[in-house]
């Protein structure tokens, strides 16, 4: 067992840190620590410009093969990049869906023409992507998708009709990948297609969803005979589920240590406040701050086990508990922040409803245990896949 990185990896770390230090300056100084969950709506244009800056330095898509402009970075190097990016206060990545979802999907399942058309703009920080999976009737039960795609022989285009929801940053994106039903008679994960759809077209309407924070980073996206070309379906018609689920296999947890760096920043802020306002003498607060510290460190070593796991990319036990662990921890941290602040926590200092960071943290972390698979779904997955317990029988209990 070895907790430290190799000398070569540490040299890579220095290179990343130096570049970020040199470039998160001037016009980009104001985007430091901005964006990310709960703050996605801020400095969008500046953060897009930052993506182009990253691209100049070859710091977008570092896990991609060199042939497509990546660095073919190892797992360790990707971890280090994310850590240093978070440490430097790099803003929430506008390009992260393209970098970590669209790109790997096309590299695995896409045609050469699709790669040539879509990969370079992602790599160069010029095209931004969003994800069209969830629907009003297909949340936890994703396979219940009803959005339809019909091939129009006359125009040679796919026509897409339906509604997607919880689409992060759709209003700031250029494309969305859409999981849609090709065969009207098909059920569940059969008969689906995976489509690459431009958002700027008459058939697409985007409506922001105002959240409990008063801000909006999620959207409803309506497709009303929206079109994409015959070449814009990834994989064979009917293989959409396979392509969509393939995405999950690409997630090796390389961003987890970087995510934890941001959590550490939040916890440090809470500790600073507790020391300042005397909450640090409250026995209950002391216990909870210690517990938060233990939880964050636990996440780190859970991640390091996950990252050191099987080379085959199979989801290990540590990987399966990760989402459940961090979302619960983060939600508790939001409440801890409020309890450390006491009655002051209520005060909204900038009108009409401009919440401060900890207030946003408290409110938005209620979403953490829901999006990306609710805690209940996560527990089902753990029980079924890791512990071999039987699936819940399907069907009606109405």
């Amino acid at each position: 067992m070895k907790l430290s990185f190799t000398a070569a990896d540490e040299q890579f770390r220095e290179e990343v840190a130096d570049w970020l230090n040199d470039n998160l300056q001037g016009e980009f100084a104001k985007v430091r620590y901005r964006g990310g969950p709960g703050d996605e709506h801020h400095f969008v244009d500046e953060r897009k410009a930052w993506e182009r800056k990253l691209a100049e330095g070859r710091w977008t898509c570092i896990g991609w093969p060199e042939e497509w402009g990546g660095r073919a970075a190892s797992i360790e190097q990707q971890v280090i990049f994310h850590e240093e990016y978070a440490r430097a206060g790099g803003p929430g990545r506008m390009g992260h869906i393209g970098d970590t979802l669209t790109g790997p999907t096309l590299l695995a399942f896409g045609s050469e023409a699709q790669k040539a058309k879509y990969l370079p703009p992602i790599r160069n920080g010029e095209a931004f992507w969003s994800q069209g999976y969830s629907e009003p009737g297909a949340g936890s039960d994703l396979a219940a998708i009803r959005t339809r795609a019909v091939f129009d022989e006359a125009t040679g285009q796919w026509q897409i009709t339906g509604q997607k929801v919880w689409t992060s940053l759709a209003h700031e994106s250029d494309y969305v990948f859409v999981l849609a039903r090709i065969d009207r008679e098909s059920k569940r994960h059969h008969g689906l297609g995976f489509f690459l759809v431009a958002l700027d077209q008459p058939g697409v309407t985007i409506r922001p969803i105002t959240q409990l924070t008063g801000t909006a980073e999620f959207n409803e996206v309506y497709f009303d005979d929206a079109v994409c070309s015959a070449d814009d379906i990834v994989g064979a018609p009917g293989d959409g589920w396979k392509v969509a689920m393939g995405l999950l296999g690409f997630e090796r947890g390389v961003s987890t240590l970087g995510q934890q760096m941001l959590f550490q920043t939040e916890l440090d802020e809470i500790v600073r406040i507790a020391k300042g306002n005397g909450a640090s003498r409250d026995p209950d607060i002391r216990q909870r701050i210690a517990e938060a510290h233990i939880g964050l460190r636990t996440m780190r070593y859970n991640s390091m086990r996950m990252l050191s796991g099987g080379e085959d990319g199979s989801l290990s036990r540590e990987a399966m508990i990760y989402k459940l662990y961090w979302s619960s921890w983060h939600r508790n941290l939001g409440k801890l922040a409020m309890d450390v602040l006491g009655p002051e926590a209520e005060l909204v200092e900038e009108g009409p409803y401009e919440l401060n960071k900890l207030q946003s943290l408290f409110l938005f972390t209620r979403a953490d245990t829901i999006y990306g698979g609710t805690n209940q779904i996560q527990r089902n997955l753990i029980a079924e896949r890791a512990l071999g317990m039987p699936k819940e029988p399907r069907g009606s209990a109405k």
Binding site: M1, S280, N380, L387
Partner: protein
């Protein structure tokens, strides 16, 4: 960065688990833990002669294996999983204390004796005001020193041939001595406990005369602190095993038990409980092996005292709660049979309870961490 077992470590885990599956069965544990000796000397002999677990941390110069904390944690985790009823923890703890004493011939002879199978237990605390509370006094009388007082919760004390005794003089300065269990003035009493798999004893000393030959360390306050922190990591390994086994046997039971024409393992109320148990067991395991790596680094001079203290406190708080939560939830998943003597889950529940308060409760561990985080120093 490779936070995973090496091939050798994986092999050690597999052979340890296989050995204990055969030798520390439910029936064997029940027989050993209720026997007069409180353990099975034959099994202990087998462990010492065939497995050599008592020698893992002992340097090769003292006939040991000279291995590290990860290896020891692997074996102790397997021991917890099978409720091993043998003085393995006791000698591991004494080995830790001896390794912290200055190197002398006497010390090295004691380490060799442990490798030879001698049971040596640490008599450290009277538990009047916490685990660092020393109940034995050392009075200087011209050429000899007299030890008097009591040490409680001495692991497998009734089986020990020698004790390492922590004593305090009139000024409060602590020292460590080795005494023979048969020495005049020493009375060892097995103290029956709820958890019968980890025997405890009270060792009473009345004017036990000790010579300088028996002195292992002076000014031992720091040594005692470090022994406590490192001992907690040993307990954590046991607790991770208990947490894992509680999960495994409970899930197995729910897969067999049928109600409403379904196995109860198919109910979400059961599945979600099991998922939480796995999360706790895996998290405790991550902190255990982190703490084991830190312990190795600390002995190598590559980690400081604060890092060791932090690692031990975090792992202890996490693993204590994981073991208790999993064993308690395990009883609930078993339903009515969970509270019967016949099923093993109650044995894990008792071991989890006993280890949770042994060497410090989770709340004490968190308070120690809070001192580091909020008060800018140790407690």
């Amino acid at each position: 960065m490779k936070f995973a077992f090496t091939d050798e470590q994986r092999m050690l885990r597999d052979t340890s688990q296989a050995f204990l599956a055969a030798e520390s069965s439910s029936a064997a544990v029940r027989t050993a833990s209720t026997s007069e000796q409180t353990y099975d000397p034959e099994l202990w002999q087998k462990i010492c002669e065939d497995m050599y677990w008592q020698g893992i941390l002992v340097p090769e110069s003292c006939d040991g294996l000279g291995l590290g904390w990860v290896e020891l944690a692997i074996v102790l985790e397997a021991a917890g999983e099978r409720l091993l009823t043998a003085p393995l923890f006791a000698v591991a703890q004494s080995t830790v204390a001896l390794k912290l004493c200055p190197q002398t011939d006497i010390r090295d002879a004691l380490l060799s004796a442990i490798v030879g199978g001698d049971v040596i237990s640490l008599a450290m605390s009277d538990q009047r005001s916490g685990w660092s509370s020393c109940g034995v006094t050392a009075n200087d009388r011209s050429n000899t020193t007299l030890l008097s007082g009591t040490a409680r919760f001495v692991p497998f004390g009734a089986a020990a041939s020698k004790f390492l005794v922590v004593a305090a003089d009139a000024s409060g300065s602590q020292s460590v001595w080795v005494i023979d269990a048969a020495q005049e003035g020493v009375v060892t009493e097995h103290t029956p406990t709820m958890d019968q798999t980890r025997a405890m004893a009270t060792v009473s000393l009345e004017n036990v005369a000790v010579s300088v030959d028996q002195l292992l360390a002076d000014d031992a306050a720091s040594l005692v602190d470090k022994t406590l922190a490192l001992s907690r990591i040993l307990v954590v390994a046991d607790q991770v095993g208990v947490a894992q086994a509680s999960l495994d046997i409970s899930v197995d039971y729910t897969k067999e038990r049928s109600q409403f024409d379904r196995t109860i393992a198919s109910f979400q109320a059961i599945k979600h409980k099991a998922a939480d148990m796995m999360l706790k067991a895996e998290s405790a395991r991550s902190l255990l092996y982190y703490a084991a790596c830190i312990a190795d680094a600390w002995f190598a001079g590559e980690a400081d005292d604060a890092a060791l203290e932090e690692a031990a406190c975090m792992a202890s708080a996490c693993a204590s709660e994981a073991a208790f939560f999993n064993a308690g939830s395990g009883i609930q998943m078993h339903g009515g049979v969970g509270i019967t003597e016949e099923y093993d889950i109650q044995l894990y529940f008792k071991r989890a309870r006993a280890t949770e308060s042994f060497l410090g409760r989770p709340a004490e561990m968190r308070e120690a961490l809070a001192c580091q985080l909020l008060d800018g120093g140790a407690s």
